[in-house]
């Protein structure tokens, strides 16, 4: 029988933190000794971003139990609001403080969007909810694509048409330029900052799960009617989980924006294929399993790069690995085998 207790969850959480820490140290060692290709170096920050996206989506999918396909939309909101702030305040504030503020703003704006979208969307269930979040994700991306914001001494100018209709002064500066996005965002992101942000996200999510609010959220997932009958405020806790999930995605977006010189909302980075890729991380790592999300995000991000040498066969092997991982994780026989192993090792311990 499956057993869980408090000390065990604490132990589990510690293992998760330790795993991230070890991965960080290992990469730092490689960086110091110079045993890492420039290609891999370029992947380090995106890796952190994907890990954050995966664990935050797991809060919605695994803990709240609602399928969301619009997660990249929240990342997009965070990325643009964070980059917009950085662009406006560049040179006016100390860099580190400005970046910290950008992260907080990205989190806050994405969180607010989470609440705004969550209020209508969370009334739906299952497939319906998935489709509507997908639509919202696309709407966000497309809106950002036609958004023009400029700044001159009269203040901010907005337009949904083109940059000329902003009617800026001679010294005015276009900050968000429609489909061309935001250019020249300061490059503040680094691997270390990414890891710190992963730690903070993990801390928030794991502690939330193992608290009174987390139990309420999971009770809604397991049985909404029963949760209601014992006085759990369904709307409040659904929105709480959804908006925290959105704000962490927003922070990942800010990190993303500060890792690139040009930020544009393309289907590739903020579209539904991105949302689905994040969902794949979550499903493969195990729905509701935060550590699994981290591992699968890392493997599935590195895999296409490691297989680059195989050129044409790359995506084929990627797909095969996906299927193999799924079988290994979720087929009843594999689960039985793993349980057997666990029991075996337990017995050995008891004998000693």
């Amino acid at each position: 029988m499956k057993k869980m207790n408090i000390t065990k969850t604490t132990k589990n959480n510690l293992i998760t933190y330790l795993m991230v820490l070890l991965a960080y140290l290992a990469v730092q060692m490689l960086l110091l000794t110079g045993n890492i290709s420039s290609l891999m170096k370029g992947l380090l920050v995106p890796l952190c971003i994907y890990v954050m996206l995966a664990i935050s989506l797991n809060l919605t999918v695994g803990i709240l139990g609602e399928l969301s396909l619009g997660h990249a939309g929240f990342m997009c909101v965070g990325a643009f609001s964070g980059a917009f702030f950085s662009k406006c305040m560049d040179g006016l504030m100390p860099d580190s403080l400005r970046f910290l503020a950008a992260l907080l703003i990205g989190a806050a704006v994405a969180g607010i969007f989470g609440i705004l979208i969550g209020i209508p969307v969370l009334r739906l269930k299952g497939d319906y909810l998935a489709i509507v979040t997908l639509a919202f994700g696309e709407i966000i991306k497309n809106l950002v694509n036609v958004l023009y914001i400029g700044k001159d001494k009269n203040g901010f100018h907005f337009s949904m048409k083109d940059s000329i209709s902003l009617h800026l002064d001679a010294e005015g500066q276009v900050i968000v330029n429609g489909a061309q996005g935001i250019t020249g965002t300061p490059h503040d992101a680094s691997f270390t900052i990414g890891i710190i942000l992963i730690f903070i996200s993990l801390f928030i999510i794991l502690n939330l799960i193992n608290s009174r609010d987390g139990r309420a959220i999971m009770s809604i997932r397991d049985n909404r009617i029963a949760a209601e009958s014992i006085g759990i405020n369904i709307t409040k806790y659904k929105l709480m989980a959804f908006s925290i999930s959105a704000s962490i995605a927003g922070v990942a977006g800010v990190l993303y924006a500060h890792n690139l010189s040009t930020l544009t909302a393309l289907p590739k980075n903020f579209g539904y294929n991105m949302s689905i890729m994040i969902l794949v991380f979550v499903v493969l790592g195990g729905i509701g399993n935060i550590r699994g999300s981290i591992i699968s995000a890392i493997i599935l991000t590195l895999l296409p790069e490691l297989l680059r040498g195989l050129s044409d066969y790359r995506m084929l092997i990627y797909a095969i690995v996906l299927i193999a991982m799924m079988l290994l994780n979720w087929s009843p026989k594999a689960i039985e085998w793993k349980e057997g192993l666990k029991r075996h090792s337990k017995k050995e311990k008891e004998v000693k």
Partner: protein, 252 residues
Amino acid sequence: MALLEVKNLTISFGGLRAVDDFNIEIKKGQLYGLIGPNGAGKTTVFNLLTGVYKPDEGIIRLEDRDITGLKTIDINKAGIARTFQNIRLFKELTVLDNVKVGLHNHYPYSTIEGILRLPKYHKVEKEMNERAMELLKVFELDGEADYLASNLPYGKQRKLEIARALATKPKLLLLDEPAAGMNPNETGELMDTIRFVRDKFDMTILLIEHDMKLVSGICEELTVLNFGRILTQGKTGTVLNDPQVITAYLGE
């Protein structure tokens, strides 16, 4: 003074009057039974009492407070908790956590205190654990506190559902077919548990049941429903010997 007072409760689904002019008065500390053939509207009455459905007509008063039309969570806060005919536990949570969710509204701390693990979190969680274990002990579930709820045997799942309902500190406990699917031994044990809950928690209990042994064994008063209407009401012995009731159950 009656703890629960229901007057003229009526609800229709389409053209069907599922519950029609339902009246009941339950005194504090009573063990009250609601019986009737399948489809008589018993569970609908429970759903009306707990705010799952809004009545078309009628008044529900709990300790003289009008709770008609309140939302389910507010009715629970007002003091009515229930169990379900088809068990509804939080399957992926542990037995202990199931009860702790029930304690939710009585042991508050803020989200920030929970995430940052401030002293209040530790203090309240400890109190919650102690209280939850106390409740589990009453139902002899303390040994299984760490099991997932879905791994409990059927009879214990029923008990856990009652424990969870009691965790919300209700004034009135509604049990929807607590003995469904139980063998005579388990039913006997359940009767003891229900009596024990009433005495130990000073609880008022309204239960729906088909098992006549259980009904005649523990209920002091009965209301019999048939086709959504009250057939008869009164002391258990009198009601069960009423020819109308026998006809309703067994046919002419």
